[in-house]
Amino acid sequence: MEGILLGVEAILNFKTLFILFIGVFFGVIIGAIPGFTIAMGVVLALPFSYGMDPINGIALLIGVQVGGNSGGLITACLLGIPGTPSAVATTFDGYPMSRNGEPGRALALGLWASFIGTIISGIILIILAPMLAKWALAFGPWEHFALMVFGLCAVATLNEGPLVKGLLSVTLGILISFIGIDPLLGIERFTYGFRELKAGLHFLPVLIGIFAFSQLLGDLNRDSLKPSIRNLTYPRLKLLKDLMTSKINLIRSALIGVFVGILPGAGGSIANILSYDQAKRFSKRPDKYGTGIKEGIIASETANNSSQGGALIPMMAFGIPGDATIAMLMGALMIHGIQPGPLFIDNSPALANGIYIAFLFSAVFMLLIQSRGIPLFLLISRISAKHLTPTILVFCAIGSFSVNNRLFDVWVLFIFGIIGYWMTKSNIPLAPFILGVILGPITEKNFQMSLSSDPNLLLFLTRPISGGLILLSVVLFIYPLIKKMLNKRRELST
């Protein structure tokens, strides 16, 4: 309770609230423009956060993230085009509902579902993160290593593409992380005489290059939209009735979103589809899904927003980012000299709790901004993403340069932009790569610490938590292979 009050004190001042508001507003704009991902929005905001106090910088980025996740519903409902990947399932019923003459209802449902999802996940975040952090404090290096391996396996196996490409992506990312001086032994690896490589590659320019830079180039041919502004209102009493009759759907979708968000690499883009699928399975009228029913919109929007709270949990408790945007949040913290992990909540209670409160307040701002500003965002969605490409490239350069104030990082951005583009064109997922880059050094460090304490490798399996996590990692790895084999047998037998 004391921690929460510290967080409230950190956030409740005009400057921080204003910055949070601007972040949410900007995030909604980014989310409303198809072709822009939330990661790009965070990249744009990232350089601004460097010069701010840690709490203000984080508030800005959280605002962008929450606003961006919700902003995607506008074009999803009104044009059938998801503003962000986390709004794909929203189009399944949001757009048909608009075509059926109820655009205001679609938007109102999506907006309130987003709000409720964010609040529920925020509450779970506040309860669960400190508990898990306390649990993680009891970990030795074996457990930390096993946890990192589990996180890496999760991100490699839970992505939507082929398993082998997910694994390739994560191992390539880990390989990149070996560049520089070994964390314990001080031996130079793969530096090729470059002084700048001795400290290794900072993950932020890599992240910006892989995600933002490469995706910008992939969208060069995207056309702009021509939405029309229609009557977008919906009576509040009817909205309340719609929500009250979907209580179970709301809670189930929120929990699915939190669970998916906790898994590294699985974010809103998976949460919204999984939640939609589950809502359809549990529904008494599954045949109605896709025709414009409220349950579809509620399932998708609740889950994609609640996944953000879920993604914050491993970052706060273990120092493992739940997705790429959380990785950028982590980067922003690290630039301010703060290391997220099990000790973060105890060492920086005001900041840690401030993050929770900022998350909850961002939901309130998101509700206010979207309920009033939808006509404006519709106009903004007319802007072609490619018109903003030059501006965003400049922000990518600033964001990379400002990490260490050296041009070398901008070259890193450039090279990883090329690598990211190649990966996208080759259908190799990006999220596992970036998690490999971030978690590689911690994984290796814990591995070496374990061996230097006791060279017995069997300890990784015989220690209960470590063994359990490694077993789970194996299950994650084997499950898709077994599922594929069973599906093939079923196909052959039919």
Binding site: P47, F48, Y50, G51, M52, P162, V164, K165, L167, L168, T171, L172, I174, L175, F178, D182, L184, L185, I187, E188, R189, F190, L217, L220, N221, K386, H387, T389, P390, T391, L393, V394, A397, I398, F401, S402, N405, L407, V410, W411, F414, G417, I418, Y421, K425, S426, I428, E444, F447, Q448, L451, S452, P455
Partner: protein, 154 residues
């Protein structure tokens, strides 16, 4: 076909990196090996690349057609915009240290405005974009260096 090329490339790259590890003096008094995990990872990437190669070979045979009509010139033409943007960004990074953030950024924005947005001969649009490019650059420079105290290349 793409997967086959990528897997061959990765196998060769892993071979090269493994050779590089043999050149590193990784002896330590503690008995720990700084090259253990890198070599294991190189091995895993190589193995996965071989699996990918085999999978793509099987897929190619199942489809019973080899796409031998790949043309480098055609591929470059299809991705022309991407290459030009990459090259222009590379030139921008080179210029950042030579002429500073403001001039390099204005040049980049003008070039990309003409290339991506294509105002053509519309003087009004060019004027609008010119005002935007210059004022945006100056605004960003002022915001970062004066207000946020973030260093930018000079």
């Amino acid at each position: 076909m793409k997967d086959m090329i990528n897997s061959v490339f990765l196998i060769c790259l892993m071979g090269f990196l493994f050779y590089q590890t043999t050149l590193i003096d990784a002896e330590s008094r503690s008995g720990l090996d700084a090259l253990l995990l890198p070599r294991m990872t190189i091995g895993i990437v190589a193995l996965l690349s071989i699996i990918l190669f085999i999978q793509s070979l099987i897929k190619l045979r199942q489809e019973e057609k080899i796409k031998a009509n790949f043309s480098l010139a055609k591929w470059i033409k299809q991705n022309k915009e991407v290459f030009i943007v990459f090259i222009s960004f590379g030139v921008y990074v080179l210029l950042l240290n030579q002429i500073g953030f403001i001039f390099a950024t204005i040049l980049l924005l003008f070039f990309l405005t003409g290339f991506i947005i294509k105002p053509g001969r519309n003087k009004k649009r060019w004027l609008m974009f010119s005002i935007y490019n210059v004022s945006f650059t100056l605004f960003i420079y002022y915001t970062f260096t004066v207000i946020l105290k973030v260093i930018l290349p000079k």
